[in-house]
């Protein structure tokens, strides 16, 4: 640990400074009343283009991306680069969808995807399914942010869990105090730090390693020498379809997460969203370069930190690379960027999870006559509980297991696509058909994940998301993203179920939304701030 003193001092200083900003945030753009859920959870819904850009970017590009994507590129090669096409595809894909979501949410006062589903399909059961799916998928995501911080701490030679507990106590305290304002303000600092670190990394490190040519050649040499079929410095016949479906499936899933929607709903009007969809890819460029840190680590001969259980922790590859290549003080800055990069999304995610619980479970099932301040209070407490749960995940479970949980989370959140995303376009599906499709998608997704082994870690089940088509009787070594196949099952069952329930004349729910609601914009009389007490 003696060799890391400078890094540690710089890291701690920046971390404390930024946390201080979190507490000040409650005074920034001060509302009249922070005691209502609307103010606390959605920042008063008054964010313009710039803040929305930082806020949405802040929760989509997390510490985990910073740590895990290059780790995947380091160990699997080209396949790990899927993160780039994924973020290129996602914005044009949701460009129109999110504008509709914004409009209908602002007309009816929706805060969560489940709110929308409840009103659109007149089905509290379907809304509950969507809410629980969102909660279950979000929690491991928060836990993973801790994996990011932990990787940095490990690279500085710090073991033990106390520092993480302290970091999350700070996070919990300032989100409790300031709601969404805290991450929105800190996101500026986080992004500035990340841009500085990445620019330095992609100019300085390649120069040290003899240029990009030799970095890619080193990667090619490494993967040519390995016998494994899943890796390679380009795609091969086996993983090409996996690459495409993983990129596309991840893009479909991204805005189904409740926390991505929080940032979108907090924007001022439809145009702010559309403008952001064209400006957010600036982050993709950074992401692509971050992914290539994995190849730089290969060229630099970086060795991941070996944990207490004797297994190398691939997630430490980027922090160790920084330690190796940068002067100590700058490695400290880079670590702070990763650490703060974990706090912003964790804060936004826990707020979104809290909103989900408060509105779709607490108000719907536990206390139907909750007042504004009761709701805000429950939300604050749930956001604490969620964070404590995330810390417990890390303390009690093998970190590898939290990564698997996240993988499962991606597959299950995709199963809300037919009711949430397609629901914005069509009311054709029968509510019972959608519930059947959701259940079938979940079941088949779990079944596929169960069948996927991981030869590298010797695990028999839940070893990845690449489902071999040979399991279905095809004579091929092609693999497909399990979530994508599960979604196809979901859609097929939902469509068949719809036809069946219609034919059997099973009652369908009422649609509380009108066609025009999907196009309403700021300044129109029916576009309003949240109606928290009324029920729709």
């Amino acid at each position: 640990m003696s060799g890391h003193v400078t890094e540690l001092v710089v890291f701690t200083l920046l971390f404390v400074l930024v946390s201080g900003m979190g507490f000040v945030a409650s005074r920034w753009r001060r509302p009249d009343d922070l005691a209502s859920l609307k103010e606390w959870g959605l920042g008063g819904r008054s964010f313009g283009s710039w803040i929305t850009w930082f806020l949405v970017g802040g929760d989509l590009y997390t510490a985990y991306t910073f740590v895990a994507v290059p780790a995947l590129v380091f160990s699997a090669g080209a396949l790990g680069f899927y993160a780039l096409p994924y973020t290129v595809v996602v914005y044009p894909l949701v460009f129109l969808v999110l504008a509709r979501m914004w409009s209908v949410s602002h007309v009816h006062g929706f805060v969560t995807p489940a709110d929308f589903v409840r009103a659109r399909f007149g089905s509290p059961t379907l809304a509950l399914a969507v809410a629980i799916t969102g909660l279950v998928a979000t929690m491991p995501y928060i836990a993973l942010q801790l994996v990011g911080i932990e990787a940095v701490l490990k690279a500085m030679g710090i073991t033990g869990h106390l520092p993480i507990v302290i970091a999350f106590a700070i996070l919990a305290a300032y989100t409790y105090q300031s709601g969404l304002r805290a991450p929105a303000l800190i996101a500026f600092v986080k992004d500035a730090l990340i841009y500085i670190v990445i620019l330095a990394a992609v100019i300085y490190i390649p120069a040290q390693l003899g240029g990009w040519d030799s970095i890619f050649d080193a990667a090619k040499a490494k993967f040519d020498a390995t016998p494994a079929q899943g890796d390679g410095y380009l795609l091969n016949a086996g993983n090409q379809l996996q690459y495409v479906t993983l990129a596309f499936g991840s893009a479909l899933a991204l805005f189904l997460y409740p926390h991505s929607l929080t940032g979108v709903l907090a924007s001022k009007n439809r145009n702010v969203i559309k403008r952001n969809m064209s400006a957010l890819p600036a982050y993709s460029f950074v992401l692509g370069l971050i992914a290539l840190l994995g190849f730089m680590a290969i060229a630099a001969g970086t060795k991941p930190v070996v944990g207490e259980n004797g297994k190398a922790d691939a997630n430490t590859i980027v922090p160790v690379l920084f330690d190796q290549m940068f002067p100590d003080w700058f490695a400290g800055v880079a670590y702070a960027a990763v650490g703060i990069g974990a706090l912003v999304p964790a804060a936004i995610m826990s707020i979104a999870a809290a909103n989900l619980f408060t509105r779709n479970i607490y108000r719907e099932y536990l206390n139907k006559d909750a007042t504004d301040s009761q709701e805000a209070k429950v939300s604050k407490i749930v956001s604490l509980v969620v964070k404590v749960g995330a810390v417990l995940c890390i303390l009690l479970l093998d970190p590898q297991f939290s990564i698997d949980l996240q993988l499962i989370g991606g597959v299950i959140i995709l199963q809300t696509l037919p009711s949430v995303a397609l629901g914005l376009y069509t009311r054709w599906f029968h509510r019972s058909g959608l519930i059947a499709g959701w259940a079938a998608g979940l079941a088949s997704g779990m079944w596929m994940l169960y069948l996927i082994p991981n030869p590298a870690s010797g695990k028999q089940h839940f070893g990845g998301s690449a489902f071999g088509l040979s399991n279905l009787g095809f004579d091929t070594r092609m693999t497909v993203y399990a979530g994508f196949l599960a979604l196809i099952v979901n859609l097929a069952v939902a469509a068949l179920g719809t036809l069946l329930f219609r034919a059997a004349k099973v009652a369908d729910g009422d649609d509380a939304t009108a066609r025009d609601d999907y196009f309403a914009d700021e300044g129109e009389p029916k576009v309003k701030d949240l109606d928290l007490t009324g029920s729709h």
Partner: protein, 69 residues
């Protein structure tokens, strides 16, 4: 978004929206660019071209945004 005439339902449809298909489809057609050569600044084709698709994405969404707002 323009306000529709009375009696005419509002819509977000526009021929410009078709432009959004380009940045969705192009990055997913891996068979077109799964190759090492030609390299650009040391980057193999597979890597630099996908980075270049970001520019395609930004251009297309910006055009659609400007033409339909």
């Amino acid at each position: 978004m323009t306000n529709g005439e009375p009696g005419q339902p509002r819509t977000d449809r526009s021929p410009w929206n078709w432009l959004l298909v380009v940045p969705i489809a192009l990055p997913l057609m891996t068979f077109l660019f799964n190759a090492d050569e030609p390299r650009l600044l040391g980057f193999p084709l597979f890597y630099w071209l996908q980075l270049a698709f970001i520019v395609v994405g930004v251009t297309c969404t910006t055009i659609v945004y400007r033409m339909t707002r």
